[in-house]
């Protein structure tokens, strides 16, 4: 009998100026609310892991999540991964001290692949995740850094293998083209990558329906899926709204509906997957 696959259900929260934002193709900074309130609700509803990304950290050369990580880690009892602008050992230490369980690195690794090696030696493979953003352009795949801004002449397949060789514990692979559209994962991408590397791969970008998760799991050897739009656009109605002072709040102003009935999408997704022979927590 074929062994059932176990999949981790993870959510990613992009944070700017302390607010949860959500773009499309990693562009646009639509504000959806208070990330702390979202993460608490997700934890209550059974999310397996939470991934925070400060997605303007590399752009501005800053690293602002510490206070925020601490606040979240105080009440969160599932793994917390943190990424965005981590470019030296000191930055990594700071993230862990404030309660992160894992750090995710992208831009810094592209500029200096050996950095991953250094991090792994001190913190262990298990705690170092490499985030890869991949953009499909003219039918070819490239990788990018600085949250989809600067494209590099490397392909994600070679890059993932290289990062595995340098000791990364897992890879979070984001399809920038699919990201934010809710039209499904880039199935070919994950199929190909999971045939090349053996460390865990997390699929991120494009999930819109429960079915999309099932498709990518059946089609490749990933260890987990990372969901953003699919959850945030639903949960923004269930979560306590805090005063937002900066950013593109137009969508929230026009769409926030506190009367909307709360549905535990995380449980429903897991039930759907279980019914389709996929194990979840």
């Amino acid at each position: 009998m074929k062994k059932k696959k176990f999949i981790r259900i993870i959510t990613r929260l992009d944070i700017k100026n302390g607010f949860l934002i959500k773009g499309i193709n990693l562009e646009g900074l639509r504000v959806l609310g208070d990330p702390y309130n979202f993460s608490q609700e997700y934890y209550k509803d059974g999310i397996d892991e939470i991934f925070y990304v400060d997605n303007v950290a590399t752009l501005y050369g800053t690293n602002n999540l510490s206070k925020f990580i601490k606040k979240t880690a105080t009440n969160l009892f599932v793994p917390l991964a943190v990424g965005g602008g981590i470019k030296c050992i000191k930055d990594a230490h700071r993230a862990f001290e404030h309660g992160a369980d894992k750090i995710a690195i992208n831009s810094a690794a592209i500029l200096n692949p050996k950095f991953i090696n250094d991090l792994v030696k001190i913190f262990g493979s298990a705690n170092v995740c490499v985030s890869i953003e991949t953009i499909k352009y003219d039918d070819k795949y490239f990788i990018s850094r600085s949250n989809g801004r600067d494209i590099e002449k490397l392909n994600p397949f070679e890059w993932a293998k290289k990062m595995q060789d340098f000791g990364a514990g897992e890879i979070c692979l984001t399809s920038v083209n699919q990201e934010g559209l809710g039209r499904g994962f880039d199935l070919k991408l994950y199929e190909k990558v999971s045939n090349i590397i053996s460390i865990p791969i997390l699929a991120h970008g494009g999930c819109g329906k429960y079915e999309d998760v099932q498709k990518v799991v059946k089609n490749s050897n990933i260890s987990g899926v990372v969901l953003s739009s699919m959850l945030h656009y639903q949960y923004l109605h269930y979560v306590k709204l805090k005063k937002i002072t900066l950013g593109n709040t137009t969508y929230l102003e026009n769409n926030f509906d506190p009367k909307r009935k709360k549905i535990n999408h995380i449980r429903k997704l897991k039930e759907y997957l279980n019914a389709n022979n996929i194990l979840t927590r």
Partner: protein, 401 residues
């Protein structure tokens, strides 16, 4: 030390405290008369350090868009289905603004817009895809302007040489072609998008103002300059045909006789938040941002269909000390999407970035040697803005210091 200021630009450089734009930024140009001797009208910054655009953005917050929408509905009711198959014109090329405008007019307000395009000089592959998706997803009929490509190339090259303004003829066509199309097909309502520059005026042009513009332009052909070259020279010296040049000229006076044309800004009636327009166009019109950051700035969703666009902003940086990042952050600051510190960091990081991606291709296309181009560039650096230290040019004044 008194420094000379080119183009009649204000000698003292002042930055708006809230949007970081400087008083060197020119207002819209009367492109027909544009030659090297033209004195530019520029953005006003008052003695409190606030620009008009900033003050207008504060006014904008008080607007009641419910009322505005009612006005829009009244306007649309007057035209819907009343002019044959198409009842309004939306100019554009499949960028986020034209996608949004045309889509919302058709699918929310029940209009049947005719899309009109003055094609980019050099289409980017993803820009072309956006254009095609735009038409396909909206099932829009499109009329694209045709021009003599040799003439277009010549004028583009000349406008670089004479004005360091590669987009001059493109901008001209962009403004004129939709009007001519409206007159030709007798569709009197033309919708542009954002009315940012117009400070609260819904009407860009009506038949009177357009007629006046045509009148003044066509009256004295000696006064017309295209690409910095006199119209009469283009005919007599460079042997271009009048029928080819015609496409760059405003409509004839007689063409106004039958149509009571009106050009309006949709952005007057609907709250125009560029980022939200981006999301809308991705969701509904198949629009996709550039696969990488636009040269000279930090974003990916604006001005991405013409390869010459990057070069254009490089020239604004040379002539006015204002690159693409400055324009982009000014807009985001007005919308409350960025902090001043962030804006300053972005300007420092990206403003004036050399447009390397398409540069060689453009030079080849125009048969212009890069060395020649750089000589032209240096000629246009106004001494009151630029100084040269040890072979390197630097701006005397920047927004982030």
């Amino acid at each position: 030390m008194k420094l000379k200021a080119f183009y009649g630009l204000p000698k003292k450089v002042v930055f708006c405290k809230k949007t970081l734009i400087s008083n060197q930024r020119p207002n819209s140009e009367l492109e027909f008369r544009h030659n090297i001797k033209t004195i530019k009208k520029t953005v006003k910054i008052d003695n409190r350090g606030l620009s008009d655009a900033w003050k207008y953005s504060l006014e904008k917050k008080k607007i009641n868009y419910k009322d505005r929408e009612i006005k829009l509905l009244e306007l649309l009711d007057m035209h819907r289905g009343k002019h044959g198959k198409y009842d309004c014109i939306v100019p554009g090329s499949g960028g986020k603004d034209s996608c949004y405008a045309s889509h919302i007019l058709k699918f929310k307000y029940g209009m049947n817009p005719l899309t009109v395009t003055w094609p980019p000089i050099l289409y980017t592959s993803y820009g072309l895809k956006n254009f095609q998706n735009w038409l396909k997803t909206g099932n829009f009929k499109n009329i694209s302007g045709k021009r003599n490509e040799e003439l277009m190339k010549f004028l583009t090259k000349s406008s670089i040489k004479n004005l360091l303004h590669p987009f001059q003829t493109f901008i001209l066509g962009q403004k004129i072609f939709p009007i001519k199309t409206a007159l030709k097909y007798k569709i009197p309502l033309v919708f542009y998008g954002d009315n940012e520059a117009e400070h609260g005026n819904p009407i860009a042009d009506n038949v009177t103002s357009l007629r006046n513009k045509s009148f003044h332009t066509l009256r004295d052909k000696d006064e017309i300059y295209l690409g910095g070259i006199k119209y009469t020279d283009l005919i007599n010296k460079y042997n271009f045909k009048t029928k080819d040049l015609d496409v760059f000229l405003p409509p004839t006076l007689s063409s106004f006789d039958e149509t009571n044309i009106e050009v309006r800004y949709l952005g007057y009636y609907l709250k125009w938040v560029p980022q939200e327009v981006f999301y809308y166009s991705v969701k509904n019109c198949g629009f996709r941002p550039r696969p990488y950051r636009t040269c000279g700035t930090y974003s990916k969703y604006s001005g991405l269909d013409d390869k010459i666009d990057d070069l254009h902003f490089y020239t604004t940086y040379i002539k006015f000390g204002l690159g693409r990042t400055t324009y982009d952050v000014a807009q985001e600051l007005r919308n409350g999407h960025l902090t001043i510190e962030e804006a300053k960091k972005l300007i420092q990081k990206y403003d004036g970035e050399f447009p390397s991606r398409y540069f060689s291709e453009i030079m080849k296309y125009l048969s212009l040697k890069p060395k020649e181009f750089f000589n032209i560039v240096d000629k246009f650096r106004s001494p009151h803005l630029w100084k040269k230290t040890k072979q390197k040019w630097t701006l005397r004044h920047v927004a982030y210091k």
